[in-house]
């Protein structure tokens, strides 16, 4: 029964479309408020990294990418990190975690941190299947979608121009590429 539930929930992944992030940091605010009961972006499981150089604004969300072979779990010296049976997200066992920071070092995205006051390295638990950052994201930059949809959606997005081109060609009767 538990096994079934896990498979169902794990079909969903949190996706980030950095071109659609406007840098409002609502995700940070609500994550920290929901998990830590404070308005405290430093304690958020998702962070926005911004660059404003030369008048050009770029903002990118950073959060746990839910690696299949998670380095954080592999490196943990006390086996404190384990996958949630419901969502598959890696969770931290507060009784085992020694806040050594090994998981922070190995995370390829820098997506985690150590809460020194609590003595624990918390991580994104996907809010048990309904991520609050996704719920509040005003642009749709953050989405929680079925894993098997992700790769085909990316392919379609990348090929949109090509599709547009072929669509025009398909309805042009003669001299198919004359309009180019």
């Amino acid at each position: 029964m538990e096994q079934e539930c896990r498979i169902r929930a794990m079909e969903y992944v949190l996706t980030i479309d950095p071109t659609n992030c406007h840098g409002c940091r609502i995700c940070e605010s609500v994550c920290a408020l929901f998990h830590e009961h404070e308005c405290h972006p430093e304690k958020s499981r998702i962070r926005i990294i911004a660059s404003e150089e030369e008048g050009t604004l770029i903002t990118i969300p950073v959060t746990c990418m839910q690696c299949e072979n998670a380095p954080c779990q592999a490196i943990c010296p006390t086996d404190a990190i384990y996958p949630s049976p419901r969502t598959g997200a890696r969770l931290t066992d507060p009784d085992k975690c020694i806040a050594c920071g090994a998981c922070v070092y190995v995370c390829p995205f820098g997506a985690t941190y150590v809460d020194r006051a609590k003595g624990i390295a918390p991580r994104c638990d996907l809010c048990d299947g309904d991520p609050i950052c996704v719920r509040f994201c005003p642009t749709g930059c953050l989405q929680f979608v079925k894993a098997d949809e992700v790769s085909i959606r990316l392919k379609r997005a990348h090929l949109e121009k090509f599709l547009e081109f072929l669509k025009m060609a398909a309805v042009t009767p003669k001299g198919r590429y004359s309009h180019v």
């Binding site: 406007h22 408020l33 404070e38 008048g55």
Partner: protein, 641 residues
């Protein structure tokens, strides 16, 4: 008690290099926060004997209790000082990410006095506050200075409040800027910062804010957010920023006056359409901390560079100066941000110079050889640079309309379009009693920060209905009595804007987007965050206290009913062209509105000064005593004259 508030007011004396703290709670019960606490500090510590640009003058940055929280729009800092433009209270709100960062560092307010010997900047890193040498960034524009500061301090996460070269050169309408596109535009707080030789405040805060009831606060924030995203005006902001609405509600409705407010119609409106520019060049949207709308527009034009534009920047320059080249308009908008200068004041000063040139009052002999011709991009860009660097004629214009008119003489003051020394935002004061009253009685000498006046709303209504062409007709539909109810409407708008400014949220939330949002929500959010019980009535009472104190400040400086006036150009002349043709504001009727306004505010109608009775009722007995000592208090009715 420090829930929701960061807890401290940071006091910095740049002359003695002393840094100290005061608890915010000494003021927050009476004045809420932001503009309210700023006003109290300014009243107590900057008396009439201190000039705006004296070292003893105070520069105030005030967040509100909701700044930095998960409540939508929680991004604002009220920047306040005695204004070097008006000599009265000066304040402007700035968005972006600095407010949140300041609160996370542990401070609700920063109050800066004194003057450094050499250019300095202040580094605030949680409890560590340092005054540092700014020689490496002095002279740099605001975009560059922020990048250099992040490099120098080795922290790319810093949020910065800074001035540009205009502030350094104490151009009297210089701004304080933050990030890209965020500025405290009006009243010249950047000049005060520059007079203290303070280039920047670099802030890093990692503490966060505690809440009395986090669950309730989050639930309430979600309620505000979902209501906001159902509001059609808010959605307009989200989808089109302030570009399309500028076309629809201002341009098409004939709300913008042309050529230094000389004319009411312009046949080039299509050429200066912000929406057309946006459609052509928009890269993406951007905005402030905690806001789901993101109403600012990100551009990058070859040869000019990147930048973020919104609101006033769109319609300031083209209409005032008849500039039709939108590439030059964009260049001037980025210039305003990089150099740190108020676009409204700059547009008006250039437009004034152009009118003086048109009338032959000044010639190229006065303007260092630059022909100040209407619409001339060369004149606009070259003279702007001269103003920023106080070179030649630019040095004259850099002092604002009152001092500049004294230096030019020759009757030039008649054509300077300002109230109490502050150049006017472009609105139809000649045909709308609401705008005219708003400008006349404003404490800072400008309209009351975009109050939702019926003219503006009429334009929007049409936009939603998709009937842009009839916007003009609708706006023209004169109510039976164009003066009726205007004083009460203005008071409501002023109170709502002040509420937002005190809470540290964007004013749109309590004005244009407030439809369907009960005013009680703000009290509920406040209670959930602080754990203190409050009511909408108690909050409104605090707001009225703040506004009476601001008025008392101005009156202590010598302001009376007499100075609550708008330029003669707008009065007693029937509008002869454009969509608002036939409009008229009569001087004696405007005087009547002023009386009504003072009476509704419980101020003395003859002088426009708050009475002792009113001040005492608001808990401002000390202010009443102070005004009395200075012979500024109006005589009580039963007192012999």
């Amino acid at each position: 008690m420090s829930d929701l508030y960061a807890g401290s007011i940071l006091l910095i004396d740049l002359s003695t290099k002393q840094v100290s703290k005061e608890p915010t709670s000494s003021f927050s019960r009476q004045f809420l926060g932001g503009r309210g606490i700023n006003g109290k500090l300014l009243y107590d510590r900057v008396p009439p004997e201190v000039d705006a640009l004296d070292p003893q003058s105070l520069l105030l940055f005030g967040t509100g209790p909701l700044s930095g929280t998960a409540c939508p729009g929680s991004s604002r800092i009220d920047v306040m000082a005695k204004s070097p433009m008006t000599g009265l209270i000066g304040f402007a709100s700035i968005g972006g990410h600095a407010a949140a960062e300041l609160k996370f560092a542990g401070y609700d307010h920063i109050a800066i006095t004194g003057k450094a010997d050499q250019p300095v900047y202040i580094s605030v890193n949680n409890d560590e506050v340092q005054i540092k040498d700014a020689s490496s960034i002095w002279g740099k524009d605001t975009y560059t200075a922020q990048t250099l500061l992040r490099q120098e301090l080795g922290d790319p996460e810093l949020k910065v409040l800074c001035i540009g070269p205009a502030g350094e050169n104490v151009v009297r309408y210089a701004t304080v800027q933050s990030g890209l596109g965020h500025g405290a535009g009006r009243t010249g707080t950047g000049a005060v910062m520059g007079s203290k030789k303070l280039k920047a405040i670099a802030i890093r805060g990692t503490k966060g804010l505690k809440l009395a009831n986090a669950g309730e606060f989050l639930a309430k924030s979600e309620e505000v957010r979902s209501k906001l995203l159902q509001n059609r005006t808010a959605l307009e902001w989200k989808n089109y920023g302030t570009a399309r609405i500028t076309d629809e509600s201002l341009t098409h409705a004939g709300q913008l006056l042309v050529a230094n407010f000389q004319r009411s119609a312009w046949d080039r409106e299509k050429d200066v359409s912000p929406y057309a520019f946006q459609k052509k060049h928009l890269l993406r949207k951007a905005g402030c901390f905690g806001c789901p709308l993101q109403c600012m527009d990100v551009y990058h034009l070859p040869g000019i560079g990147g930048g973020v534009v919104s609101c006033m920047l769109y319609f300031g320059m083209p209409w005032a100066t008849m500039l039709t080249d939108m590439d030059i308009w964009y260049e001037s908008a980025i210039l305003c941000q990089r150099q740190g200068i108020d676009v409204v004041s700059l547009s008006d000063m250039l437009a004034w110079a152009m009118e003086l040139y048109q009338r032959g009052i000044i010639t190229t002999k006065d303007t260092d050889g630059i022909p100040m011709e209407w619409g001339s991009g060369k004149a606009i860009l070259e003279m702007s640079h001269k103003i920023v660097h106080r070179e030649g004629f630019g040095d004259v214009l850099a002092d604002g309309p009152v001092l500049a008119a004294q230096r030019i003489g020759r009757g030039s003051q008649e054509f300077a379009m300002h109230v109490k020394g502050l150049p006017l935002t472009n609105y139809p004061y000649n045909s709308s009693a609401g705008y005219a009253l708003s400008a006349a009685v404003s404490p800072r000498g400008d309209t009351q920060k975009g109050s939702p006046l019926p003219e503006l709303v009429a334009g929007w209504e049409n936009l939603y209905a998709g009937e842009a062409a009839t916007a003009a007709e609708k706006a023209q539909e004169a109510p039976t009595d164009p003066y009726k109810g205007r004083a009460a409407t203005l008071i409501e708008a002023q109170d709502n804007v002040a509420l937002a400014d005190c809470l540290g949220i964007c004013k749109w939330l309590t004005t244009e987007f407030a439809e369907g949002m009960p005013s009680g929500w703000w009290a509920e959010l406040y209670s959930a965050g602080t754990g203190l019980s409050t009511s909408p009535e108690a909050m409104l009472e605090a707001i009225k206290r703040v506004i009476d104190l601001e008025r008392a400040y101005d009156c202590r400086e010598g302001l009376t009913r007499e100075q609550d006036r708008i330029p003669k150009r707008f009065l007693n002349t029937v509008v002869s062209e454009g969509p608002r043709k036939g409009g008229l504001v009569e001087e004696d009727k405007l005087e009547g509105l002023k009386s009504e306004y003072y009476a509704l505010r419980d101020w003395d109608v003859a002088t426009g000064i708050p009475t002792r009775q009113t001040l005492e009722r608001r808990g401002l007995r000390d202010v009443a005593d102070d005004l009395e000592r200075r012979h500024r208090l109006p005589k009580a009715p039963d007192e012999p004259a």
